[in-house]
Symmetry: C2
Subunit: 288 residues, 2 copies
């Protein structure tokens, strides 16, 4: 198998690791805007060789894992360059603009719009880990627009990666993911900001923060290069989630101010069922 | 050593485990409002026997790990009952009201006001784990009001538990802890609420949530019995942190709405340094 990975960071690099394990004979070509990233990926043996878009014509599969602003720019060019039997998959955290961008592309049938729900707060080739995708959900959009044979080729790999597949339209994807992923990132970033602003003495944060704070603020370590274009592309949905979140925080504050601790209790008690909802979400085993 | 633990949940039970390991000859007496909890603690061999406040007169040490509303009610009675050489420590997440409550108590010198920054989102005796306190900070308030010999007795144990000690006045404790602990819990509870309200189909949350959401919403599994009285006692500080948090979220929303993604990027980039600040915070090894 000839696999080209465009963007050899955490997502692309982890995919490379799995493919190497599942298909020892695979030839993996790495492409990255940052020369240093491909060099690092080579050194870490994530990829077998460096490449350019010239490699796309003979690729069996292309995995594009770059920030979503770069994705909408590059995807048409990538499709221009691939062969008829090549399946191109992305891993973008937004789907609507990406699907629209290639909707009329002559090679639309070579593209499978994917969003594997997997990752950590780290980035770059050195953040790549084994088994990142195992047990995780892969959301596939507009599957009917991809050539059936190429769907099959991709699905065989997802099956070997032990991923769960969920089909969804791009609008629904972007709406739901704003709640369960994009909002978490903002809540975490702003929590980090609030605490840093207040606690000018960083030693205080360090001394007084427990694992609870560490966990809640974990996503505030995420890459702004990755997240700024996600928020830009999914602006409407994200703003809606933020408004509801702020509304709920305001209400909680009012309950505190008015001394209504019966309802403070109820708010928390009702939310406790997140425990049952989340039970069984496969955690990433090794998050560095 | 005769140790009485009042409240044999996660905090008291984990303390019992450590003491058993460090002092194999210790006799540990468990007291809990919930009969089932003491029975469970006995069964799990966290404690050696059940007890009542009659056991306090001959105790070397009393560890009080109960919700902070119960703490302000029980602490004066506990001090009434202890012997002259008994040191009583609490583990409450608020310190001002607790210190005020016993400030004029004739046995004030037997009390050491503590807040070990340790815990998980779980509760009850079965949540107790080994080594919960290792490497964690223990904040001690008004240390000068505790008899020196009893300070020494307690500090010897904290040292053996490998805890870091930090001295602080109760007002400063409550102010700082509102930022690095109490606010995280509210941000997490309200995130959970926002997502549950929106995603009526819980399967969607389960399928689309990644480890990022899981981590950010982890504290929303916490016990409302424990947290309602904390928010009540620390209301003023908590409301202040909430106002700043909401302000920051509002500002982020405005940046999104006005399409100012340069500043969206900067907000996240500036907050990324939480990575360095948190580096080295000891995580709890086994969080169930």
């Amino acid at each position: 198998m000839n696999l080209v990975i465009i963007g050899v960071g955490l997502i692309g690099g982890s995919f490379a690791k799995d493919i190497k394990r599942l298909y020892p004979d695979a030839n993996i070509i790495g492409i990255d805007k940052k020369e240093a990233h491909v060099d690092e990926a080579l050194e870490l043996q994530l990829v077998d060789q460096k490449g350019t878009y010239d490699a796309l014509a003979t690729a069996d599969m292309v995995f594009v894992s770059i920030p979503v602003d770069a994705l909408v720019k590059e995807l048409p060019k990538i499709l221009d360059a691939v062969g008829d039997e090549t399946v191109v998959m992305d891993a973008g955290s937004t789907k609507k603009l990406i699907c629209e961008t290639v909707d009329n592309h002559p090679k639309r049938r070579n593209f499978l719009a994917c969003h594997p729900i997997a990752g950590t707060e780290f980035s770059g080739p050195s953040a790549a880990i084994n088994g990142l995708y195992e047990g995780k959900t892969n959301i596939i959009c507009e599957v009917e627009k991809t050539a059936f044979k190429l769907q099959e080729k991709a699905l065989e790999i997802f099956q070997k990666l032990k991923m769960r597949i969920r089909y969804m339209n791009p609008e629904a994807h972007d709406k739901h993911i704003a709640y369960v992923s994009h909002l978490s990132h903002i809540s975490s970033f702003m929590l980090g900001k609030t605490v840093i602003e207040k606690e000018k003495n960083e030693r205080d944060i360090f001394d007084m923060a427990g694992s609870g704070f560490e966990s809640t603020v974990r996503l505030a370590k995420s890459s702004p290069d990755m997240w700024t274009p996600i928020f830009e592309q999914n602006k409407e949905n994200v703003v809606e989630t933020l408004e509801e979140y702020i509304h709920n925080l305001e209400r909680f504050k009012q309950l505190l101010l008015s001394g209504d601790f019966e309802n403070v209790y109820k708010e928390m008690n009702n939310t406790n069922r997140i425990k049952q909802i989340l039970k069984g979400i496969p955690l990433t085993k090794n998050e560095n």
